[in-house]
């Protein structure tokens, strides 16, 4: 079946550097994408979302890029801080008639080195 997947299971960056987490999706009907952050022992926390009619969206220190041509999604975190250490999940959904739940990738563990 179609799925959402991540390129790298673990990403280690120096505090203060920028980080980029990548995600590939295979369902061409997906039109809504979300990034979640999950810290140990907690539920996923919403970071940022994007719809398929956009290719870029910015939040506070975060930017999500969507490339529909190659079905690729990325999350950029600027000036990383120790509190950014967590597992990051991308998720996708077909708003027009797919399953009601989100389809999640397996996650990337981001480690911020002091």
């Amino acid at each position: 079946g179609e799925s959402v997947g991540l390129h790298l299971p673990t990403l280690s960056v120096q505090e203060g550097d920028n980080s980029i987490i990548n995600c590939a999706y295979s369902n061409s009907a997906s039109d809504y994408f979300i990034w979640y952050k999950q810290e140990s022992g907690k539920g996923p926390q919403f970071i940022i979302d994007i719809r398929s009619n956009m290719d870029k969206r910015q939040g506070q220190r975060v930017t999500v890029l969507l490339n529909k041509t190659v079905k690729h999604l990325s999350l950029q975190i600027a000036a990383t801080q120790p509190g950014d250490s967590a597992v990051y999940f991308c998720a996708e959904k077909n708003s027009g008639g797919g399953a009601d739940g989100l389809t999640f990738g397996k996650g990337t563990h981001l480690i911020i080195q002091p």
């Binding site: 809504y32 979300i34 979640y36 022992g41 907690k42 539920g43 996923p44 926390q45 919403f46 979302d49 999940f89 998720a91 959904k93 708003s95 399953a99 009601d100 739940g101 989100l102 389809t103 999640f104 990738g105 397996k106 996650g107």
Partner: protein, 114 residues
């Protein structure tokens, strides 16, 4: 306002026993979702409620799993005759409506079946 809450936060049970997990969504949110997260894995969609009805039960892994929602608010997920492979974190999320895809998650219930 308050976020999604779940109880218990942890549950240890013996194989064959039934367990009941509770979710309190964000006040006013009509859509409610249950997911399961196995160790080191992404989230697996289980069931979706719009109000008190469950139009999408496609993710329930077996007939031992059931869920209900009363009063358009609190939901319970029941697992009968638990098996060791049911051990996971069970996460609940809510959104203001099905059309509003952004889902906000609770902290989860960590279930261990011995």
């Amino acid at each position: 306002g308050a976020g999604v809450s779940q109880s218990p936060s942890n549950k240890v049970t013996e194989k064959g026993k039934d367990v009941e997990l509770r979710c309190d969504p964000i006040s006013g949110h009509t859509a409610l979702y249950w997911y399961r997260q196995s160790l080191g894995q992404g989230l697996e969609f289980l069931i979706y409620f719009q109000g008190n009805s469950a139009p999408d039960k496609s993710g329930l892994p077996s007939d031992r799993f059931s869920a209900e929602r009363t009063g358009g608010s609190v939901s319970t997920l029941t697992i009968q005759r638990t098996q060791q492979e049911d051990s996971a974190v069970y996460l609940c999320a809510s959104s203001s409506s099905r059309a509003q895809e952004t889902q906000y998650f609770g902290p989860g219930t960590r279930l261990l079946v011995l």
